[in-house]
Structure formats: C-alpha cells, structure tokens
Amino acid sequence: MIKKTKIEIKNLNKLIGSKQILKNISFKLEPEEHLVIIGSSGAGKSMLVKCILGLEDISSGSIFFNGKRISRSVDKQKVLNKLGVCFQSNALFDSYNTWENIAFKRLYNEISPSILKLKKLAIEKLEEVGLPSNIAELYPSELSGGMQKRVGIARSIFSEPDILIFDEPTTGLDPIMSKKIISLIGKIVNNSKKTAITITHDINLAMFLASKIILIDGGKVEWSGNPKQAMLSKNKLIKIFLNG
C-alpha cells in the first residue's frame, strides 16, 4: 500500500500588513519522517507552524493533509484533531491540575468522560515521559520548568495523534534537561513511528532528531536536506549553524 504524504505545503505566503513574514514556502512531509525546522529568532519558524495549525490565516498558497487541501474551518478542526502540539511556553492551563491538563482533550470533549479512566491514562502518560505519578494532582505553577515541558509533551501524545509538533522544546531549559528532553522526544517519535515536526534554533537537536531539515531565514526556505547532507553542505547559513 502506498502511504500518502502527511503534510504538503505549496507556495505558502503570509503577510501581516505590508510585511511579508513567509515567502513561497514549499515542502513535503512523508509518513514517519521527522522534519526539523531550524532558523534564527524571528525567521518565521513559529509563524509557519501556526499557519500549518490553522491558528493564523495564510495569505496565499495551499496546505494539504493526507493529500487533502485544507480550506474551511471545519477542515482545520479535523486536522487539529490529528495533531499533538507541544508549545514553546508549554501553554499548560493554570487552573487545572497536571492530570487534567494531560487528559484535557478527552475530559472536555467526550459527552460523559470516565474521570477515573482518564486519570489512569494520564498517569500512564506521565510515567511515559519520566515523571512520577504523585505529581498528577499538582498544578502547573507547582512544577519545575523541565517537569512542565514533560507534562506538555505528555499532553501532546495523550490522544495518540497522527502527527506530533514540538515548538522550541528546549527553550529555557538547562543543558542537562535539554538533552533529556531531546532524547525523550526522539524516543517517543521513534517508538510510536509517528510523523513529527520540531522547530528549533538548536542545530544539535536538529542533527539528533531529524530525518529531514529545513533552514528558514527571512521567511523563506534557505536550505533543505537530511542531517548527512547538512554536514557536507556549503551553504553559508548551515555552516554558521554547525560551527556556531
């Protein structure tokens, strides 16, 4: 059976006022691929993901999920149901405790959710991301930065999505915790054989996780290839990223 391309972006442009944020972005993401989008701050990486998620309207171009073009808000919602997103700021809900945050999607979208069952599943996910079950009743403000990040990851994988998206997963973490989070993401994506997109400015993270890398600069795709090609690339920006 031929597997359909998971995500395809064709000539995507995004303008805010007269300023062009994204210029003619095109790429494909095949099943089980892990795409890492790298670029410096303000390059347009997060905006690209927001466009893919439908949180920002695109000015022109097309986005395809599983071969189907996304246009209406109904389509966007269907797509969002298949995605698991871990935000840069974690975006955990302050007024809900850890397990409620993790199980949020099912807790508030099922007609009569089984609280005990969802709590048990949430605790399983907590353990999967390396956190003890006794933090399930704690609120996000009572957790450390690294713990919050893991809870964010647990929430993104809770409903077994088709595609995982990690926005700057190591931002604000110390180098030791960053390494742990990178290997956790690698383990989750590889074990579940999921398609994933990670956004980062950290080239080490990109080289470790990616099966495909896209370098964005000034809102346009400056370079794309796999980690091996990146090592051999003569592109100036890639070299700067690699050599620091």
Binding site: L55, Q88, F93, K105
Partner: protein, 260 residues
C-alpha cells in the same frame, strides 16, 4: 498643507475606529454563532456563575445597605424643607429599584468582574493557552467566552434584586433607628408606592449591564496584545469601557422604559 495633515489625521482615526468596530462586530457574531451551535460547558458555566454571582454578593450587599441608608438620610434632610419627610420610604424604594440598584451593581461588577475576566483571558492569550485550546479540539468561544457572558447575564439581575432588597433594608434601618419612623408605617409606605414595573425595569437594565460587562470583559481579554503590559492595558480598557457603556446604556434604557 496643514489642512491636509488634519484631514489625514481624522481619516486615520476614523479608519482605526471602524476597524475596532468591525473586530467587535465579528466577535459578537462569533459569540452568537457558537452559542447556538454548542457545545455548552455546563460545569464551567456553573463555576463562573458562582465566581461572578455568588462571590460578588458581599460587595453588592454592603454597597446597597450603605447606599440605601445614605439615601434615606438625604431624602429626609431634603424633605424637611417642604414638610415631605413621609416620602422617605417610597422614594428610597423607587430610587433604588429603578436607578441606584442596577447602576451601582453594574459599576461594581464592571470593576470586579470585567477586570478579572479580561486579565484571566488576556493572560491565557499571551501564554499561548488559547492556541492550545484550539489544538485540543476546544473552541475558546464555547469554553471561555460564552460561559462567562452567560454567567454575567444571569448574575447581574439576581445581584440587583438582592441589592434592591438590601438597599431598602438599609433605608429602613436608618429610618427606624435615626429618623424615628414607625417600622410598620415605613414598610407600608415602601410597599404602597412601589410598583412591580419599578422592579422589573431595574432587572431589565441589569440584564443589559450584565451583557455589556461579559462581552466587553471577554472582548478585551481575547484581543490582548503581547506581554504583561498588554494584559494590564486590556484590563484597564475593559473596566473603563464597561463603566462608560453601563452608564450610557442606563440613560438609553431609562429613556426607553420610562419616558412615555
């Protein structure tokens, strides 16, 4: 050239104003649309009904008692000038039910509730929690906005009714203890001249004020710009605009309900 500058300035201001009106119209349209299409989060709505309605009872109650008491003193002091002290009970009751009850309740709730709604939703906006809601298949209009607006819409008339009763009680206490009114006569005069229409008109006003506070609080919250400064600005805007709109709506509704 100076004229052109001023024309451009007026044009630019008008454009900004019309853009804001457009954004607000789209926001209210979305509230209506999502209110009828669901889902409705009953548990969230009840939580807000308690936070907005029940927890506002102490401040509304105290304000109403003291306002009723002060009103009784003022009317008595003014009434003695033309031997009309006996009107104190009826004027206190009519004044509180028609005007002071709903307006004071509206202004207090604009300060207490519109600000907290705006700050809460604004903080969620700047910390990507609203984006997270979308990705978790939860529409922020259904989850955050409609329960709050509905809670304001229902709470305000109930709080106003409580305020009316406590305001009349405040007037009664001062009337009986300080102004030496006969308690039975005071109550009789209160009931004698107070019509059901006086109470209902106040509650109609309060419903509109509730809608204004809920819609403006959530609107400013969801349109918060980046950072803590943005949250502060949207909180101020929600209180200022809610208060202005409550007072303006009070005049329009008074004109519509009483100017026959």
């Amino acid at each position: 050239m100076k004229i052109l500058f001023y024309v451009a300035l007026v044009g630019k201001t008008l454009l900004i104003f019309l853009t804001k009106v457009g954004i607000f119209a789209r926001f209210t349209w979305k509230i209506l649309l999502h209110a009828f299409t669901g889902p409705f989060y009953a548990k969230i709505f009840l939580t807000h009904l308690i936070n907005i309605g029940f927890l506002s009872l102490p401040v509304i109650g105290l304000t109403a008692v003291f306002t009723g008491a002060a009103l009784a003193l003022q009317i008595y002091s003014g009434g003695t000038r033309f031997n009309a002290e006996s009107v104190v009970p009826s004027i206190v009751a009519i004044g509180i039910c028609r005007e002071l009850g709903p307006v004071l309740c509206g202004l207090i709730m604009a300060g207490r509730v519109a600000s907290s709604i705006s700050a809460e939703i604004g903080t969620m906006k700047v910390t990507e929690q609203i984006d997270a809601l979308y990705t978790l298949n939860t529409n922020p209009y259904n989850f955050l906005i409609i329960p709050r607006v509905l809670a304001c819409l229902i709470s305000l008339p109930l709080l106003t009714l409580t305020g009316d009763i406590l305001g009349i009680l405040g007037g009664f206490l001062v009337g009986v203890s300080t102004l030496e009114f006969n308690p039975a006569n005071y109550l009789l005069n209160t009931v004698k001249f107070l019509e059901l229409a006086d109470i209902i008109s106040g509650l109609i006003k309060a419903s509109f004020f509730g809608l204004i506070i809920g819609v403006l609080g959530t609107f400013n919250g969801i349109n918060t710009s980046v950072g803590a400064k943005g949250v502060g600005k949207s909180t101020i805007n929600s209180v200022v605009w809610s208060s202005i709109f409550v007072l303006a709506a009070n005049y329009i509704l008074t004109e519509a309900l009483f100017n026959k």
